[in-house]
Symmetry: C2
Subunit: 190 residues, 2 copies
């Protein structure tokens, strides 16, 4: 039986999302999530510090992948090419399971002010991770922050396109396309 | 006596900031803020919904000023010129008192993760107010969001320069200068 069951972490995410949508985020307890999966609260807390982090897990690793990708870009890369390398690294890490969960995660966050606040903070954190990695390459301010802002926008725009059911383009391709579009647009605002 | 006393709202802000810095944000109660000012808790709650909003008050009016300034820009204005008009409207509204409070407000926020989260959300909210006002003028996406992003960055960068004690340049001038610098920089990232 166990062989074809999704792994523990994925079962917890699935159960949590179902409960958040059925009963509301505030009305869902970790005990209920554990019960729904047939696992214990202790198991839940081995994977997530609290129920909120079911929705935001992976943020730190995303920031790290972006920063590592930027650091590993060729020495002669422009700020935007370095951001593209960061986007390659992070967008290549997403799984089909994450694509499947994403619309439900977004729906839960959209319906709850505290979660929208957390989401804005995550957004800011990814931008800061990218700007920091760019500065470490010698990109001065404000270029580092602006290139990072374009990177965050490209990440979110490509992610939204990727999880749209009719889409069949890989996420890394969408991210590079969005980054190019955003930069072209930024040059034509005045 | 009462003639030279600062107004009630300002007295509450001053007392709250002193207490946040002396005793920590978490350890400060509304009752203590009221006591320090010689006012009642009821008076506090006529000015602020909770102690957190002492730090973030004015956010809604800032978003409204930005949006109204953008809406009132000439019909032929470029997206960036419309953002500059929004910045004129909001930066012209700041008082010398706000300049005086700002470093202490920033210090309290910087020392507290929940407040940094709230601050990121405010940042996002101002950008959304600007992007919405630009779309209402017919600016398409992603130009509206990108112009708004530059506007938020220009607002914060100019504000930080304005509250720096040696500065004597008016905030609206700094904001326009920052917006120009940011746009020029954005065109040279690739």
């Amino acid at each position: 039986m166990a062989r074809w069951e999704p792994n523990t972490r994925e079962r917890l995410v699935l159960a949590a999302l179902d409960l958040f949508i059925e009963n509301g985020y505030d009305n869902t307890t970790v005990a209920q999530i554990a019960e729904r999966t047939g696992l214990t609260k202790t198991t839940f807390f081995r994977h997530f510090p609290d129920k909120r982090e079911v929705l935001f897990a992976g943020q730190e690793s995303q920031g790290r992948l972006l920063a590592d990708g930027i650091a590993a870009a060729p020495a002669h890369a422009t700020p935007l090419e370095a951001v593209a390398a960061g986007l390659d690294a992070v967008t290549g890490s997403f799984t089909p399971e994450q694509r499947g969960f994403a619309p439900r995660i977004q729906a839960v966050i959209a319906g709850h002010p505290e979660l929208r606040e957390r989401s804005a903070f995550k957004h800011t954190g990814l931008g800061e991770a990218m700007a920091e990695a760019l500065r470490a390459r010698g990109v001065p301010e404000p270029a580092a922050t602006l290139a990072a802002d374009l990177g965050v926008r490209a990440f979110h725009r490509s992610f939204d396109r990727w999880i749209d059911p009719p889409n069949s383009t890989p996420l890394p391709d969408l991210a590079r396309e969005e980054l190019r579009l955003l930069h072209t647009t930024a040059t034509t605002l005045a």
